[in-house]
Symmetry: C2
Subunit: 452 residues, 2 copies
């Protein structure tokens, strides 16, 4: 919903409340998409208004809306709920949403939630809570459709009709053996176009992609992207089906991992909270570590400059080129590292492609370096009428571009090789290294050519 619509919406709702037209409000709310409630609630200033609206929703809608809310709104609501209301919500929520909720809430709220869950569900939830963070097990849901291979299509339809409502998806159904191992998967489309008397074993696809409960969620998300699936079965160590990851959760993981890469690449400690939900000191903490490290490393560059004090005392104009050289080196390195980091994340670049990538960067840096050197040479000749200076700066630029592109290509791949996140080898770190090298190179070349 756009910002303007949100304003209109808010006015309407406040109007209903003011005039106590609760029946009209209830009718109105029926047509609001669950995903639009969070921003609507954010607009309302008073907590009672939120609670009032929430209590007007039907049981199913209430659960759907609840799953969409931010954790602080969820917490406020739970604290205002009666036990009966809480139980209703928890009954309606899908297992994976309940697990997400429990992971976000403070312990006193968790206790109240668990008290309002029945015993069998509590057991499942406890198991789900035990999977390591960011594993396939931690994002899967246990509510899927399981069928038997000797069923007919008609029998399968009957089973789905009976249990479908409680399942998160019916788009993919899994055919299991008695010991719950996967024999095959059936897309609901196959079921719908098959003859009613066909046996499932004749129409199921026996070639099933699965992941283990411990698989990294990033790998899971990549599989969705590559194989165009809607759900991915998750198996335990005995190869029994224990849950499925649905595509909406995979998209959330993709977005989360991308945000993490963005933050790492800008020299921050990644956080799962949104910008405004993160406090000032948390923000400062996430940013200060890298800033300190990079600040201290950039002092190396400073001491190199000090070392060449005599050179720039003799030719003071040299100092004027330092920002340009450092900036260009940083930008070149950042271009290459970004392409490599993104390529690695998208599986378009693999480790074995290292020399292929380096060779490409080498040729690109020659082209780019020469163009930049010429552009600079023209300017220097015009401004200072000093071809020797143009030569010094031009050679340095070519060297800096080549070096920064080689580092930008190599460091992310080295990180990947060392099983680190390639995104840490991004602009900030590479810039700092390139800064040092470019200043050193610059003064070396200057001393050699200008004889100072």
């Amino acid at each position: 919903m756009s910002e303007e619509n949100l304003e209109v919406e808010k006015e309407k709702i406040l109007n209903f409340i003011e005039n106590k037209k609760f029946n009209d409000l209830r009718k109105y709310l029926e047509d609001v998409n669950p995903a639009d409630f969070p921003s609507m609630f954010e607009e309302l200033e008073e907590e009672e208004q939120v609670l009032l609206i929430y209590r007007l929703l039907s049981k199913e809608q209430a659960a759907e809306v609840f799953a969409e809310l931010d954790s602080d709104v969820q917490e406020n609501l739970i604290n205002a709920f009666t036990d009966k209301e809480l139980k209703n919500i928890v009954d309606e929520l899908f297992m994976d949403d309940t697990v997400d909720l429990i992971e976000e809430m403070p312990s006193n709220v968790v206790k109240r939630i668990l008290n309002n869950i029945n015993k069998t569900d509590r057991k499942v939830i406890n198991e789900l809570l035990n999977y390591p963070e960011d594993s396939a097990g931690s994002i899967m849901t246990t509510e899927f459709i399981d069928l038997k291979e000797n069923m007919t299509v008609e029998e399968a339809f009957n089973k789905i009709k009976k249990i479908g409502l409680q399942k998160e998806t019916v788009y993919n159904c899994y055919v299991l053996s008695v010991d719950r191992k996967i024999k095959g998967v059936i897309d609901i489309k196959e079921l719908l176009i098959a003859e009613r008397e066909s046996k499932l074993k004749d129409i199921m696809d026996t070639n099933v992609l699965t992941v283990s409960t411990l698989e990294d969620q990033e790998e899971v998300a990549k599989m969705f992207d590559k194989y165009n699936m809607y759900a991915l079965p998750v198996v335990d160590q005995e190869n029994r089906l224990v849950g499925i990851v649905t595509i909406d959760d995979a998209i959330d993981v993709m977005q989360e991992e991308t945000s993490e890469d963005f933050e790492l690449m800008a020299a921050m400690t990644p956080t799962e909270e949104t910008y405004f939900k993160t406090g000032v000191f948390k923000h400062a903490k996430n940013r200060i570590v890298w800033l300190l490290v990079l600040m201290l490393s950039s002092m190396v560059t400073g001491s190199i400059i000090t070392h060449y004090e005599e050179a720039f005392a003799a030719v003071p104009v040299l100092v004027a080129f330092i920002p340009m050289l450092m900036g260009t080196g940083g930008n070149c390195g950042s271009q290459s590292s970004t392409l490599i980091i993104r390529g690695l994340a998208m599986d378009e670049i693999r480790l074995k492609d290292y020399f292929k990538a380096l060779w490409k960067e080498f040729r690109v840096s020659i082209v780019v370096g020469i163009i930049l050197a010429i552009a600079n040479g023209i300017r220097i000749c015009m401004q200072y009428q000093d071809p020797k200076l143009a030569l010094v700066v031009g050679l340095t630029i070519i060297g800096v571009v080549m070096l920064s592109k080689a580092l930008g290509c190599s460091l992310p791949m080295l990180a990947k090789k060392l099983k680190l996140d390639p995104a840490i080898m991004a602009a900030p770190l590479i810039t700092t290294i390139v800064d040092t090298c470019s200043v050193l190179l610059f003064f070396q070349i200057a001393v050699a050519i200008l004889h100072i």
Copy 2:
């Protein structure tokens, strides 16, 4: 598939070919996922091997595999195909994949493709080709399930059974009026759990989210993320349903838009090609424009330094702090701009939040600035025993951090306000601006405090 598996796979396949065990090879290929063929084909050195393997696939598998291939492999295959083979493929492909293919191929190949498409399909394809690039119309498919509101569930099942195979998805079915306007949408789950004699009008959801054919694909992808949908109906200006966007295409758009942001943020012209598919000169061209612009702008910083020649002639150690100040400013600005750009892309930050964000960045920058100033002060006092110098550098750091965070917050939002992509206001541009300001600030403070 991992790199090692790929090697094993290749060996197996070459073995089959060498021993002319084509029947075994065909059997083997049946179990390979269509999405694994592109990397398998890439491994094979000879084009004839690719063609041989491709001809062993069943008609349906062949079309699925074809849609996954890179455009250069597609082109080679089409050139090797007989007209009959080409017709088979094109008949099996979904409309949106055919359109993608036509957009990628050179004109002589396009002519051959169009000659092998029947007249009605050709008309649809021509219409699809006319939608603007990156619009909802350009990524939608026209193959969806349409039902009538007076049908019973049983009748709907019969229709799906008859036409389902040719449709890209059966997960969502659309209930249309006689003039093809949307009356409602039915999730296949609702259909499966409903009574067979129910009328569709009683079970359909009348509150349907739609987009216009001209909607930007990025907005379309955001809707998928927000509303957890599997398909989104696309309507023309008369509000008639003309196509649907499926979630797999929405994911492709998300990835494409994210890559574009990464590239823009690293000062590159975005490209849709993968890293290795882009030639050296294309790479150089994508990178050189921004590099030249940034290089020329960083000369402003250089001339400021020249302007203060006397200052650093008097206190040469000042120059040693320039890299550190520029680096810290750049990193701080890059942190803030990355968070804001990502927040805007994810709709977590809106334009009206500007002052809220600025106020947050202001407080963060005070905390971060003071910590960095103290760390630096300690080092300077230890190394130079010069508290006045520590004061100069410390004050400059605080100023630079505040300025860079304010710019990093403001510029992306300004870009958004001006309907530009906020990603252009990222690290490289902000760094260049901050560089200039920090050097200026540094010398101003130095002159004032050190009386030089």
